[in-house]
Subunit: 313 residues, 4 copies
Amino acid sequence: MIENAKVAVVGVGNNTSALVQGINFYRSTGSLVGIHQPQLNGLGVENIDFVVAFALSEGKVGKDLHQAIFAPPNNFPRLDAELPPSGVVVRDGLTDSTGIRRVAEALEGAEVLLYSAPSGRPDIARAYAEAALLAGVAFVNTTADPIARDFSLLKRFEEAGLPLIGDDLASQFGSSVVHKTLLRLLEERGLTLVSSYQVNLGGTEDFRNLAENPASKKQSKMNALGSEKVQLAPLGYLPHLKSQKIAHLNIEAQGWAETAVSLDIRLQVHDPSGAAGVNIDLIRVAATALRSGRGGYPAEAAAHLKSPPGTSA
Amino acid sequence: MIENAKVAVVGVGNNTSALVQGINFYRSTGSLVGIHQPQLNGLGVENIDFVVAFALSEGKVGKDLHQAIFAPPNNFPRLDAELPPSGVVVRDGLTDSTGIRRVAEALEGAEVLLYSAPSGRPDIARAYAEAALLAGVAFVNTTADPIARDFSLLKRFEEAGLPLIGDDLASQFGSSVVHKTLLRLLEERGLTLVSSYQVNLGGTEDFRNLAENPASKKQSKMNALGSEKVQLAPLGYLPHLKSQKIAHLNIEAQGWAETAVSLDIRLQVHDPSGAAGVNIDLIRVAATALRSGRGGYPAEAAAHLKSPPGTSA
Amino acid sequence: MIENAKVAVVGVGNNTSALVQGINFYRSTGSLVGIHQPQLNGLGVENIDFVVAFALSEGKVGKDLHQAIFAPPNNFPRLDAELPPSGVVVRDGLTDSTGIRRVAEALEGAEVLLYSAPSGRPDIARAYAEAALLAGVAFVNTTADPIARDFSLLKRFEEAGLPLIGDDLASQFGSSVVHKTLLRLLEERGLTLVSSYQVNLGGTEDFRNLAENPASKKQSKMNALGSEKVQLAPLGYLPHLKSQKIAHLNIEAQGWAETAVSLDIRLQVHDPSGAAGVNIDLIRVAATALRSGRGGYPAEAAAHLKSPPGTSA
Amino acid sequence: MIENAKVAVVGVGNNTSALVQGINFYRSTGSLVGIHQPQLNGLGVENIDFVVAFALSEGKVGKDLHQAIFAPPNNFPRLDAELPPSGVVVRDGLTDSTGIRRVAEALEGAEVLLYSAPSGRPDIARAYAEAALLAGVAFVNTTADPIARDFSLLKRFEEAGLPLIGDDLASQFGSSVVHKTLLRLLEERGLTLVSSYQVNLGGTEDFRNLAENPASKKQSKMNALGSEKVQLAPLGYLPHLKSQKIAHLNIEAQGWAETAVSLDIRLQVHDPSGAAGVNIDLIRVAATALRSGRGGYPAEAAAHLKSPPGTSA
């Protein structure tokens, strides 16, 4: 008999909406479409229970989780599946480093804390990580804030026998992985890269934050693409796109006898779906690592993150 | 001291133009741009000498090879490098299965016969293969005609200690490899393919032939893409494109919770460059296999062909 | 008090499905989205009644029109609006030039005969036109078959005081009009066209017919684009696209000091919607011209057809 | 016998390079490719003489104009035409509003002052306009700074019998005109716009300035596109593009029965060529208006500017 993973989540934004709705969708339809790993260390996609949730905005705190995920500015679409109340009431989250103890108490019974708030507040991210340490809960940092890249923090999780995963979620299928794959293909086939660019457009609140504070994200993208010939245009926040992301990629190269090769790509995805499709795996990795007493960084998580330990902060 | 590979070529079309001009280009500039393997089994890109050439059209037969490669309908551009006469006068090629002995005699001194004529005349391809067998020369079939896929023929090459490579050259960087790579990426990331298409447009004589006789090529493409959800639009022969090829690819998939993922790609390459970039490797594989007495199919060639032995004819 | 136009239709394919469903959609929702002319000579979009319908396939003849429009191979989507039975039972259509009298009798009470069968059977098209003449009904030919371009036929409609409209419907918003508009813009701005291509991909039965018998359609496209520098790639019949059409257009030009200008366009539309959006206007033009006794070619129709009278057959 | 127009230019950037080189190119080749109006009020493209030039950077001031146009950060390519010294030595330009008299004296003999400096310094633009007024010379403002939109200034030019043209050059063929044309086409055909975006990428110094100070340019673009449903992504300064500009446009609309219509466009141009192709007309309009004593705003110029008099500043 499988025991469901017990998950606490910080941030009730689009990514949480996609994750929560998707788990319910797969549970009720039995569909396997779009699933990376139907079983991961014995846990299915449907074997996830949310037990605690934290948010900050008035429209979410105090609401049932299944209601809060539709509060503005969330704009991930409502999936076509019935969604009964969850029984989890969204709690008030941290706004600074005080309150760690309160959070730790709320985490009782949870196995994994999924940190899915907006990037750009490393102090808050770290406060939740401290609460997880205190409560004996695994921590998954999906933001670009450096948590798993902080070696002293990683060491403390390791010593406590607690898994720590991060930083900066690589989408299940986003512009970085497509770009990287095509650049690697070029190289494998012996072509010489001349130039390349990537433009990302999106309409979520997370996107707006990144567009206004591009620095940490850009470094993280660079970690993922790894070539100075690849240029990133500024993020474009276009509200009408809602939770869709559109990326325009261009690659100019030279092949045999220096003749030109051009590739233009347009990619359209639902950003929160790409996050949920990876979070579902990270949660299961974290939960099963915790259960088997493996603290620190689980190697199998690294492929899903843009800035794992050892990359530039 | 390196001994240059001695190559005979059948077909003085665009692919031969790109190969001949490119070798001269790299020799005179020292550039390494667009080269897959600068050294392959000890042979550099510049270590290729053309010693015999066969063609059919009046405008090519009897001309110096370095002049014949610019005769219409060839339309690969003239590269920016001086090209002195080669000393090789283009000979009259076969139009049916008679004349094998004549060809075999002309092959004396050659190590590799590169069969680079238009696809669609398997009888002629086979006649040249017989001539290679007779002359003790390795054979490289770049066309979609089934030669290396013919097991009895492959066995005879093997027994004679002669390498046989084919069929249907995979371009160094063409629509098939890009398409295949992205489809594989989808699968690796757990997305579910919904539909996909590929449109190829080009302006070479070879393209015109394929557009008018699509069957054998289409099977070969299907061997390369390997999914029934991928649809090929008819080839478009657009003369103004000359030796450029443009491909439009589309991929529709579903990710987490069945949300949509779309990829649109436009690829622009010089088709003959893509062929030359692979031929340069196949020639070196064939020459060095011959020198070391390895007959039959050299395993390292398979990755460069769309329909290697064992795939459908 | 507006009297609804009474329409007979030949062909119960996707275009008829889009037209019939769309009129019902606008009637029931009151929406004005996507409507070119809410009122045309006093008739609204909702002021159309279908009174007779002809088809050939077993799956359609004998069925109610509102049921027949969903029979395969039709693949235009079912719109989100309730569709009660129409009361019009689909009749058996013509398969050769006999039966004109039978059709004429069935047309009693109709004002407009919309000929919306597949292109490629000019004899059948002409037979229906003769029936319209006999019955005193206006005729709208949406196919590429030359009917309105036949001056003797046009003259007979004119003399009978009956409107005749055709040939070859220009989509409300299709690849031809987008291509033409951009080519004209180039010219207006003083750029010099170097080359251009257009690829059309679709999944309807009509598309399959055109892909297999491209000649008449191609001439009609050429009439619409009017430049020999524009090349049409062969139509690609891709069943999975269903009633969607995708067009890839490319325009290469030269501007100031002969520097390069490139335009690449991808257009995605529902082909039957593009047809219905024009048919709704042609029907209203035909009905009101008939009511006011204007026979022959109504000038206001010409803009909506690719091959109006006076262009090449 | 035609008397050449005598032109002074402020700013020796890429646009001036394209204009100066292009005039020389057309003069020496006799080509008419890419020319909007071979003759305009009797003046040909070759009937332009540069008589004075102002710049600020050390690498340009004191150099012959035909040498200065290649000084970095200029990156418009060197055209394939011989370019003998011009005899015009680039002078030191204004850095604030002082020096108007010095400029006016230098303008003696000139008929038109083409103000082609970077946007974003309205005080400097105005100082040159004052110098033109003082010297009795027509003024053409190609920047987004409000000069022709300043009614009191326009009135003074009008009273002095001097033409004043501006503001913000519409490219001969740029993203604004393509976008606007397609949006108008949608409307003409009765489709309903749902959403639209535009991303512009470029590598010139001018582009860098605009990317860093987007406000005035954005208002000007909005004047040109005129719909709140059209969203502009931030400009992307990608140095490797040099003087090329790439724009990605998307248009989502609804047609008949609210079915979806999508248009994706990729446009690639040399930005300075697009400017030169319009400047050549504005100079000729200004020169001939001056010669015939028509002061103020010449109506025929308005179509070439994004923010003519009467639009928002």
